[in-house]
Symmetry: C2
Subunit: 470 residues, 2 copies
Amino acid sequence: MVFNRVTPKLVERLRAAVGADCVHVDDESLLLHASDETEDFVFRPEVVVVPRAADAVAHVMRLATEYRVPVTPRGAGTGLSGGALPVHGGIVLATKNLGRILEIDRENLMAVVEPGVITQVFQEAVEAVGLFYPVDPASRGSCFLGGNLAECSGGPRAVKYGVTKDFVTGIEAVLPDGTLVHHGGKLLKNVTGYNLTQLIVGSEGTLAIVTKIYLRLLPLPNHRVMLLAPFKSLEEPARAVPAIMHAGVVPSVLEFMERDAVEITERHLGKSFPHAEAAAHLMIELDGNDEGVIAREAERVAEIVLAHGATDVLLADTDAKMGGLWAMRRAFGAAVKSESVYKEEDTVVPRNQLVALVKGVKEIAARHGLRTVCYGHAGDGNLHVNILKMDMSEERWNTALDPAIREIFALTVTLGGLISGEHGIGYVQKDYMPIAYTSEEIALMRAIKRAFDPMGILNPGKLLPSAGAD
Amino acid sequence: MVFNRVTPKLVERLRAAVGADCVHVDDESLLLHASDETEDFVFRPEVVVVPRAADAVAHVMRLATEYRVPVTPRGAGTGLSGGALPVHGGIVLATKNLGRILEIDRENLMAVVEPGVITQVFQEAVEAVGLFYPVDPASRGSCFLGGNLAECSGGPRAVKYGVTKDFVTGIEAVLPDGTLVHHGGKLLKNVTGYNLTQLIVGSEGTLAIVTKIYLRLLPLPNHRVMLLAPFKSLEEPARAVPAIMHAGVVPSVLEFMERDAVEITERHLGKSFPHAEAAAHLMIELDGNDEGVIAREAERVAEIVLAHGATDVLLADTDAKMGGLWAMRRAFGAAVKSESVYKEEDTVVPRNQLVALVKGVKEIAARHGLRTVCYGHAGDGNLHVNILKMDMSEERWNTALDPAIREIFALTVTLGGLISGEHGIGYVQKDYMPIAYTSEEIALMRAIKRAFDPMGILNPGKLLPSAGAD
């Protein structure tokens, strides 16, 4: 793809189109939109546009098409695969001025939102009227629903409730040429033509820019308890996970964390965690509308984890106790980041392959002389593998990292898994796509991309491998 | 699209490719594959192929591509939108020899199946090991899981559990050029590239032929009760539906049926139904693992329907009683079909718009002198509108029908709905697509079709409007 640079004339036309106060070319704005939460990448855009309405987004895309300038959509910039990095410069189109909750509809258990709504703000708004939006990324305090949609965010509750795609029932979106399209709505059933909604969810802003989202809601469960179970090995908790599901209990949360994740986070937060010396923990939450049922399920889960080697089972049944554990769990990412230069891989396998994955990751890392810290959503087989540089030389790090990652991804595929569960492919994993897909499968994805974006101006350099890499 | 006819040479090569016993050109076979359950259409294919393996399907598609001959995939032929009709002749590729349940995996709560498995056979196989596949089309005794996937079948339990797309986590499929592709697997989370699985689910066999399906399962609920509530008007039950959801109870089934549907089915089955004289009924099922919780929910639902005008609430709490009601409900389609020449529309609206939809349909039908019988899945706003010819003259029927359908569909769109909830667009609704979508939206769908099928040989004449109709 050959793109043009942003010219003063284009900036002037953008200002006329969306309002001068929504177009920024100052150094500070450009730098602020040059990075996201992915490692330490910096790619400066040439102009930042923050439209206030869908038709303004459409106008920006028409101009980008006319000038053949790349556009990188951006939510809150909390992504972990570089989806919001303007790797080809051009325009960053940020959605922070599209931040309204348009409707919470209690009769249809649906909400209609703009993409720039902060996930936690939305969760709290629906909970205030007795409803529940279960998708709960660790960055919920700052990430946007639009970014969640673009990446198909998951989080810890996916084991029971599913991921973002399972809640999006419709969208309004702007295509790369500026056409505004609608699909779906407040509908649980819809087979009217191809499922554009489900194709666009998780497409990482490479097919369209979403300007309105229809989200399904649930009644808010009244009760919730959490169990914390320490283990002496990494394999025992991984084995307990399928046993819990096999028993017919579906926890709302089923998290795995190894000792290093807990210790690093204790240091980072200056707080202590129960049984921090354990090799690994399972953190298990049960929710529902009947206290008695939950108590019985909790007892059953406790029996199973004890039978699988847990050395204790701690019960957290108050908001304060559960809140403390959640604060710890949500800080893992930031804690690892503060510990060392690192690279995070978002592996996913069938949940009963978690034992093999954890053992395999440790063996591969050891062979390459790399330290790994693993934690993640054991209930859905989604393990975040953090590879830490620590005091390794730059040269050795650069030599060891790529072959180790390739081995880890090859292992996930062998185990029936794939290379990203919820962070997306984005900029940092795209050249690993051929580990997961054949060249024909990648060619099909390229053809889908061309169907939406024949000029390739929307979020170029993401999701699909660099030309030639497949 | 210009296609070639099937030549004797092609038949010979098909025989060599998939085995002579899997290729049929006799009259009986051709006629058997000329119709599905959609009205009374007959389109004879030129050859019927019933491959036994995915690589045989791939071989057929390579030959079809080489000879530029259309291929119509067919499951059990129970579709209601003509998806399996070979409207351009050519090859019918039937999946009945791909009928194995490959695996029921209790640790991962997943199953792997071939497309030709009968839905009820699969439901019973998973229930035998304490698991649950909730998607429950009325034709479950004969329809195939592959057809359910192609149409994104729904059924009565969608209000609580979702539709086919919510259970498909991966596929193996053959593209029109014969390429075998995989996507997803036994994975609850997967953001590795574009969501080919979700794009192919509901694409009505126009993008690819699915040869293997990964399905998510749930633990089987232990308890179930059903309530039957008769009403004196059509509007009262439609108003009760959002009130039930508003109260925080999510029934596993929430069906609406008007008197005519019940009466026609009584005649058809020679059985009687309680309160058959009521203007309409709600049939409500609650399920779960705790009898006490279900009893409390049933009481709450009974209060709500009584407050909304129900004249009685009957409780069915044995398998026999519930089975009798289900047999009645599942017979509606066949009963209507036996009553008269008819046309069924599969409207869907947000559930709180059901009152407006029912009233509007009756008003439109009356104005056009047409009789309608309405029933459907009230909990998800999916109303099946059956328009009956009865003793109307052929000429008047042909004149009145199309404008009435256009008005009904325009109404659903005005109410925030769409023109098919679970039956698909197929052959019979395709020229109504411009009521639901702009020409740009349809152009985008055409571009997606071309990305998969540049020669247009796979299930031509379905889903997208005839050239020029948009």
